[in-house]
């Protein structure tokens, strides 16, 4: 029997029968007791998430209670279609996403902050403050975040009246006047690093406080590659938005393009054909494997184990060459398009891919003991950069960073979207939270992805790869949620007139994982920073937008 079909039947028996939102009544009850009304909004456009509207003065209390009840804070975005701001925050528990939404008046826009309850909220609230001018009243950190010197205080690029071109001066000065945390005392010194780093890597600034070789504190200052992606998304057509989404973070092109297309398709009530969905998953798993391979090599290289860098670099290159041969792009860009996919795969390629999968599996089997038994390598990876589960959870960490610290969550399993709703996905989870655990999780996830690829190929039936586009009415909105190789990748889209995009907000998992780096580096030595950083591998572009 067709594996996918069988799996789907199994899932009806198990996961499919899991009742959703079981935690919601308790939350609503408790909020009602506090006098907070959580009114469920009409409409189904944001499904499978559920949308609740609340009064802005209850915004903080609702978050406080959400924290008590163990919800995860998963994102925040603002819209300003007219006189008032619409603020939406995303929460998740047990694979169910709930959106809280409130309205804030135009004049002196103020809103209680979620940061006192969820540290995860800090940077996205600062992002919203810089780009929309909303004041989060009790935010513990009122410094700017995404704004450097390209626009002035009191100017808010994502408001409609701010022109896309802005009013830039010919030469934007370097950022200054940002108050980094300081430490006094004998022997404490500062190491400023970046924005340009030594290597072929994205730019950002790291501000270390160190005593001897030990890191006392690390503060990140990001925003250097802010390209105005949210603003650039406005007024695009769906195809144009998919192209842009595929460039939010080039290493996660499939994940972001899929999330954006999923959001647009849900808003437009379009269901891509089954074959297209399976092809999307094939692209996504191939993207996961490519990044895992490259990073396993790079992590080893950062502690001087060049052998692994060559071996995994070789495997990654072979993988990318096949991407080019079969799908026309080494990084699989522009393959996920609104309504489906841009390219089909011929049967011959499917056969070749099966062979390639077994070949890679054999290589991974062979290389694994060489890493595990190399004591000088393990000596550098084990117990380096430990991220405790409580910290990971408080920061809302995602993907392998979270799973290596014992947070057992994977959208493909816990909030499955097609075609994963018909596939048993094993989420790889460990408890140590160190560099070695993050590497091991990625090693095992590569195997899982190889298995998924085989099942996806087997399930691939003939058929269409593109559903015709239907222009949704102005105001239609949709939410995309995809487990990219870095973790849960979220996307919100609202349509305006004539099928053009009115608002685009992509939330890369890096937003949360970057904060984890600041914590896990404590007490490590400065020379271990590169390997700790690589083991997290946040996207600068994906966080800076």
């Amino acid at each position: 029997m067709n594996v996918l079909l069988k799996a789907h039947q199994d899932s009806i028996m198990t996961r499919g029968s899991v009742p959703r939102f079981t935690w919601l009544p308790a939350l609503q009850e408790e909020l009602a007791r506090l006098g907070v009304k959580l009114g469920e909004a009409q409409g189904e456009s944001l499904l499978p998430a559920r949308l609740f509207e609340l009064n802005s003065r209850d915004w903080g209390r609702a978050a406080q209670e959400a924290k008590h009840q163990g919800l995860r804070w998963a994102g925040l975005w603002v819209e300003k279609p007219g006189a008032a701001f619409i603020v939406t925050a995303c929460f998740e528990k047990q694979g169910d996403h709930a959106l809280f939404r409130t309205r804030v008046a135009d004049l002196d826009p103020e809103l209680p902050s979620h940061t006192p309850y969820f540290s995860a909220a800090s940077r996205l609230e600062r992002h919203a403050a810089d780009l929309f001018g909303i004041v989060f009243t009790d935010h513990p950190d009122r410094r700017r975040w995404i704004r450097h010197q390209a626009w002035g205080e009191g100017q808010f690029p994502l408001r409609r009246d701010f022109p896309r071109a802005g009013t830039p001066v010919p030469l934007t000065p370097p950022d200054n006047g940002y108050h980094f945390i300081v430490a006094q005392g004998e022997g404490v010194y500062e190491i400023p690093v970046g924005p340009i780093h030594a290597g072929i890597i994205e730019p950002g600034h790291f501000h270390f406080l160190a005593v001897g070789e030990t890191v006392l504190n690390l503060e990140e200052r990001l925003g250097y590659v802010h390209k105005g992606i949210e603003k650039l998304g406005e007024d695009r057509d769906p195809a144009g938005l998919a192209r842009l989404a595929g460039r939010v973070s080039g290493d996660s092109s499939v994940a972001h393009a899929w999330a954006a297309c999923m959001a647009m398709e849900r808003a437009a009530r379009i269901e891509p054909p089954p074959r297209a969905l399976i092809l999307r998953a094939i692209f996504a798993e191939r993207e996961r494997i490519a990044n895992h391979l490259g990073d396993i090599g790079a992590i080893c290289n950062d502690v001087g184990f060049a052998f692994a860098n060559y071996q995994f670099g070789r495997l990654r290159e072979l993988w990318q060459r096949d991407n080019l041969a079969w799908f026309g792009h080494r990084l699989l860009m522009d393959l996920v398009v609104p309504g489906g996919v841009a390219r089909d795969i011929s049967n011959g390629f499917g056969f070749a891919m099966i062979k390639q999968i077994s070949a890679l599996r054999r290589e991974l089997d062979e290389l694994r003991p060489l890493l595990a038994e190399n004591t000088s390598l393990q000596d550098r990876l084990v117990a380096a950069g430990v991220l405790r589960k409580e910290t990971a959870s408080a920061l809302g960490c995602l993907g392998y960073v979270a799973r290596a610290s014992g947070m057992d969550f994977d959208l493909r399993r816990d909030a499955p979207y097609a075609p994963y709703d018909g596939l048993p996905v094993e989420a790889v989870c460990r408890g140590e939270g160190d560099v070695a655990a993050r590497l091991e999780v990625r090693y095992d996830e590569s195997y899982v992805s190889l298995g998924l690829l085989e099942q996806l190929l087997e399930a691939l039936q003939d058929g269409e790869i593109l559903a015709p586009w239907k222009t949704p009415p102005a105001g239609a909105e949709g939410l995309g949620l995809v487990e990219g190789w870095r973790g849960e990748t979220l996307c919100f889209v609202r349509f305006g007139e004539e099928g053009r995009i009115a608002r685009y907000f992509p939330r890369d998992p890096s937003v949360f994982n970057w904060s984890a780096l600041e914590k896990l580096i404590h007490g490590n030595i400065v020379p271990d920073f590169p390997v700790c950083n690589k083991s997290v591998n946040g996207s600068y572009s994906g966080q800076d937008l």
């Binding site: 390209a150 290493d251 490259g294 670099g313």
Partner: protein, 169 residues
């Protein structure tokens, strides 16, 4: 250790002879490049890569130049950490306004004579991002550019070819 050596031995050398790039032109260029680098750069051409706002796709492919298949160092091309050691600035991305000053600092820190190479569609003409409140667009809007390598992102093969051409100028 035995296993390690045995794996190394069995995989062997995968570095492709220049002709494996698929055309005879490449082989000639490679040999020429080596000759030019030996003559003009005393055997080594140093590149400082600067991401001035890219999506990181271009970085992945520039990285690939160092994997064993391309191993660009065999032509005498290598990546350096400091612009002070560089002959070439390899710039990616539309130049974000937040990176404009840092890019100029790197440029001024690079000793003359130097070349600026704009890598990728974004660096070439602003690409998907263009000019905006946050982006200066093409690298040539900020710096004099000597060579543009188009592509989103350019493949390692195209990067290698373009570098060979530039050094051979």
């Amino acid at each position: 250790m035995i296993k390690l050596l045995s794996k190394t031995f069995r995989v062997g050398v995968v570095t492709e002879p220049v002709k494996a790039f698929g055309d005879a032109e490449m082989e000639t260029l490679g040999a020429e490049l080596k000759a030019v680098i030996d003559r003009r750069f005393n055997g080594s051409l140093a590149i400082r890569q600067v991401d001035a706002g890219s999506c990181n796709g271009c970085e992945l492919e520039i990285h690939a130049l160092n994997n064993p298949f391309y191993d660009i160092e065999r032509f005498g091309v290598h990546f350096v950490a400091s612009p002070r050691h560089a002959d070439i600035l390899l710039v990616t991305g539309p130049v974000s306004r937040h990176m404009q000053s840092a890019l100029l600092t790197a440029y001024h820190a690079t000793p003359d004579p130097k070349w600026v190479v704009a890598v990728g569609s974004c660096a070439a003409d602003g690409g998907e991002f263009g000019i905006s409140y946050a982006s200066c667009g093409a690298v040539s809007n900020v710096l004099p550019v000597d060579l543009v390598i188009p592509g989103c992102p350019p493949t390692p093969l195209n990067l290698a070819k373009a570098l060979l051409k530039l050094a051979g100028r």
